[in-house]
């Protein structure tokens, strides 16, 4: 199953401090729904406020992204620049 890593407090506050989850979703949109169902508020937070790194690659907007059963999905803050 894909593994979701939560390294920062922005999302850990929804999971009671858990930093690693296994999920059944294999698309970003399904992941948002699953996270919202399991940890109310987290799905919305991920969809609106977070970027994700899927197997190391950062997606500022992962709406259409898919991932495999062995993928690692890391939730990180969105990144801007100067």
């Amino acid at each position: 199953m894909p593994k979701v890593l939560i390294t920062g407090s922005a999302c850990q506050r929804f999971t009671g401090g858990r930093s690693e989850l296994e999920v059944s979703a294999t698309t970003f949109r399904r992941l948002v729904l699953e996270l919202e169902q399991r940890f109310p508020g987290l799905g919305k937070q991920v969809e609106e406020g977070m970027a994700v790194a899927i197997d190391g690659e950062i997606f500022q907007d992962a709406y259409s992204a898919t991932f495999g059963p062995d993928s690692e999905v890391v939730l990180i803050p969105k990144i801007g620049g100067g």
Binding site: L5, T7, G8, S9, A10, Q12, R13, S19, E48, G49, A53, D55, G56, E57, I58, F59, Q60, D61, E72, V74, L75, I76, P77, K78, I79, G80, G81, G82
Partner: protein
Amino acid sequence: MNYIPSDLKVVGTRPIRPDGVEKVTGRAQFGADMRVAGMIWGKVLRSPHAHAKILSIDTSKAEKLPGVRAVVTSKDLPHIANEEAFVGEGPMNFRDLSRNCLAWDKALYEGHAIAAVAANSQAIADAAIALIDVKYEVLPYVIDVEDAMADNAPILHEDLFTAGVEPKPTKPSNIAKKVVFRKGDPDAGFKDADVIVEGRYTTQPVHQAYIEPHACVCSYNSDGQVTIYSSSQGHFMVRAYCAKLLGLNISNIRAVAMEIGGGFGGKTLVYLEPVAIALSKKSGRPVKMQMTRDEVFRASGPTSGATIEVKLGAKKDGTIVAAQEILKYQAGAFPGSPIGPGCMCGFAMYDIPNVDVVGYDVVSNRPKVAAYRAPGAPISSWAVECAVDDLARKLGVDPIALREQNGARNGTKTHYGPTHQNIGFLATLEAAKNHAHWKAPLKPGQGRGIACGFWFNIGGESSAGCHIAEDGTVVAVSGNPDIGGSRASIGMMVAEVLGVPAEKVRTIIPDTSSIGFSFLTGGSRVTFATGMAATQAAERVVEDLKRRAAQIWEIPVEAVEWKDGQAVPAGSNAGAFEPLDIAAIATKAGRTGGPIGAEVSLNAQGAGPGFGVHIVDVEVDHETGAVKILRYTAIQDVGKAIHPSYVEGQIQGGAAQGIGWALNEEYIYDKNGKMDNAGFLDYRVPVASDMPMIEAVMVEIPNPRHPFGARGVGEVPIIPPMAAIGNAIRSATGLRMHDLPMSPPKVRAALDAVAPKMAAE
């Protein structure tokens, strides 16, 4: 498709910059140059107090002054709900953005906009400003970040409660947010360490110091159509923010990107445009507004000042086993410092198993901070890279060797989660180690320092196009204002795809009604993302040109190849035809399907991160405390340099700004919370005579997610200079400076403090 480096004929060359002649002859039209028929002038009344309740604003005398056509306060803007969205360079709270453009019930910093006037002339507008009567209740203020975090600090916002802590606070605080990143077991890591170094560092807010002030001309027509001419890092950003702040339909606003005289992140917000539109609506005339330099400093965003505590633990063999950082960033009057990237960047260059990073976003009575090149990263890396230098000294090892031993490589998992891929950090360290600068002897009294920097780079939504003119010349269109040479790089990528010289392509930036949406110019994303869109548009044009050649020759399109700017038969079986160049095909465009062109809009992902290593030699004048930069070399992984001269310029510019941040630049406040140095005489940026030639060394590790291998290059070079210079001062004098800027008074004081001890020794 990805292009093979050895096949490139245009990408990687150095054609003359397309905007150069207009700029050096003074004909380029910057925001402040714009004038339109019937235009009047707007001016802003600003708070003289660092923190005050606004009891009343009486504009009646100003309104009666002959020549005054409109006066506005925040009551003329819709009151916006506390709503946050990620639409600019970070999460944007539109209520705060509105309150920053025109204060609601409180002035939150000296220079905060209170009201604005539009009049027939600047002189009348100035006179009218003086006639506005504002009654204030002056409140206690707080400037320093740690003072603002104290329990008894004056509170800026009664509805601000610290996010990111449990249980949820019940008392308001100036700490807007706490963020934590943790990897492994930091406590166990430090217990396991043989050597520990730690330090407490500070930085002061520094301004982006763009030469061109914020300026705009805005016209609100009686039919509700709005036109904005302004200098910004994103005309689509200006359009979106103004629509939100004024309750307008986005499609009713046409924003025109003027030339921009520097932004560096500071022009990713709006300050004047919504006010000018409100004044234009009220007066029925186009309104021009332009900040003075004084206003730029007092009212537009610097980057954060900060306090950083750093601790590193290593084994005797040099392996870093634990790292900790506590960062406290000033956000200015409203939440939103770059604390997130600050927390992520400091240790991103290293492979450390146990990491603990805690960050605080803190409001105080200063102008709201804005993005500045690699927002947050230079502050964090200033502390980390000084600590790495201290660790190398304590271990008795070469600082490059220590970094090579612990440096991030492909497959290194960062403390904030993602795993590095296709990175060039070790290659930049190798280039530094082998550079003549690193091996050159130093004279007595001189010191050498080295430091590194990391930035993510970003992609995002972009639109670009490619159109073939009737004579076969090419127009490329980009949805992004050109700050750092993107017209050149986009034109060159289009030329490469089409197989024509760069000079045959003219790149322009249309207004927001004439091209698809593009996210703003920032995060070093335009050559990567908009360049990707332009490349795809040119590829579509090539496919169309091939189709038309096939039509002219009456052969299948599969039998046509595109080679060196010409359609040629794919082989002898395709038939014997003379090649058709773009001009030949363009002359028959009307008969083969009409005009030739394509526009591509995409959301680019896969921006490759960048790494930099800077080497600097300094000499310290023990009498004055002045630090002289003797030699400076900046090495950077740039992916593939599309136009190497522009890339070198980005590296040199970032290093120069970092040198100013290191040695001189700071906001100085008086005892009443008012800025004391709001001008370039007293806020000292480096000038040419301060600087040696900065040697830029490009290490090209192509980004496989870009057709030509490009990475963003504009952020990284501002990250290493402060620590590199601090490490060089340490090398020259034996002093570890902990506070920026390392200006003559501070260096002299530090030298004086150790003089008796040194004399005794």
